[in-house]
Amino acid sequence: MVVEMLTVDVEKQLGELSLHAAFESASGATALFGPSGAGKTSVINMIAGLLRPDRGCIALNGEVLFDDTAGINVPAWKRRIGTVFQEGRLFPHMSVRHNLDYGRWASGHAAGAKAFAHVVDLLDIGHLLDRRPGKLSGGERQRVAVGRALLMQPRLLLLDEPLASLDAARKADILPYLERLRDESGVPMIYVSHDAGEVRRIASRVVRLEAGRVMAMGGVELLA
């Protein structure tokens, strides 16, 4: 089995915050943990290719995605990194089914009908397929967003506080889906959160980010 591997070493000045984050992650789920304003979302956006670092490099499975000295910056749409945003960002003018299919149309990395059925089943969203995102609850929306990212056959899945906009009861509803996802999909995950309880359930490795710096890397004992 190939061990998927992400290495990140990036710097960026973001207003007052000077972000300098360096860490690695392997297969399974790695949490990017820290208080609000630590720069977690910025790091995620840099890995996804939505935000350009000032300096540094990002590599996935040996492929360099960003390296300022070598002048490499692979655009987001070529990175094949699935991203689940805090607010879901489902396309309001498309049905749930078309949202889920979007990656297949756009990237050509086709997930077949079988994969579609599997993801729909895994996230329990079969009854939502013909609805518009505007008619979904917050929890349903986030499950669809996860499914959409999975169905583009990502090499890495980034989850940026996917539960932050939900109340405690909804969070508890969705966490089991994310656990199943981690165990069954085999896609390595970076899970961003400031909630220690959430991270403890999802991640086995923790990267602790504070004020733009990686303060510690290790197991869940860092959550204390």
Binding site: L50, R80, F91, P92, H93, Y102
Partner: protein, 231 residues
């Protein structure tokens, strides 16, 4: 006794043709410029912005005259097009398309630009993480979400083109059957003794067409908006 003469009909149909063609031809450019102004920062943007909106503030006669001295038969660009491609705008209905298109352009660009600026760009980011290149994300996300604005812009442009008078009459004159639109025909009728009744009839026709265009645009935009939000 409402009785339209064949000349009236000619002017009405010509107006509709000119306004339709002017709107259709300028729409791709209008979308392009609107995207450029809404999304890109480049050197000289303020100037492009000003030039696009110029026909809105210039006296129409001035716009028409500027078209005449650039696209006229003996004018530099006009002569070049005529000699090399056989394209002539002066005193042709195609020239009226140009003047109507130019006069309507600022309204079209403004409506489309506003609707593009209102789109949540993070949706386009989401599309790019799903593998959509910039063109694909524009076609599948930006354009559909801006559709109500595109419809409004096209309809405004159509209405403006239909009513265009000053620039058109200056550029391509007032030739029945070739460049005489409803507006020009009304103007001509008011210049002859006893033309009042005929002029009034055309005025009524102009009001009906404009109202129909407005109602149609309102209905289309409403339908598009409803579709966007899961109707």
């Amino acid at each position: 006794m409402f009785q339209l003469t064949p000349q009236d009909w000619t002017a009405i149909l010509l107006s509709l043709r000119i306004a339709t063609v002017a709107t259709a031809v300028s729409l791709p450019f209008g979308i392009g410029i609107a995207v450029l102004l809404a999304r890109k920062d480049f050197w000289g943007k303020t100037l492009v912005d000003a030039v696009v909106y110029l026909p809105l503030v210039l006296p129409p006669v001035v716009t028409g005259y500027l078209l005449l001295i650039t696209l006229g038969r003996r004018a530099p660009v006009g002569a070049f097009l005529a000699d090399h491609f056989g394209i002539v705008f002066a005193f042709r209905w195609t020239g009226a398309v140009i003047s109507c298109g130019v006069m309507a352009f600022p309204l079209m660009v403004r409506a489309i630009r506003l609707s593009i600026e209102a789109i949540d760009r993070r949706l386009e980011d989401a599309a790019s993480t799903l593998g959509a290149n910039p063109f694909w994300s524009f076609v599948t996300i930006t354009l559909p979400l801006a559709l109500p604005g595109v419809i409004a812009g096209a309809m405004l442009a159509f209405a403006r083109a239909l009513g265009e008078f000053g620039a058109t009459i200056t550029f391509v004159s007032n030739i029945p059957g070739e460049t005489q639109t409803i507006s020009a025909a009304i103007y001509t009728l008011t210049q002859v003794p006893g033309g009042d009744v005929a002029a009034l009839q055309l005025v009524i026709v102009a009001v009906i067409i404009s109202l129909a265009a407005l109602v149609a645009s309102e209905l289309l935009a409403r339908r598009a908006t409803a579709r966007l939000h899961g109707g």
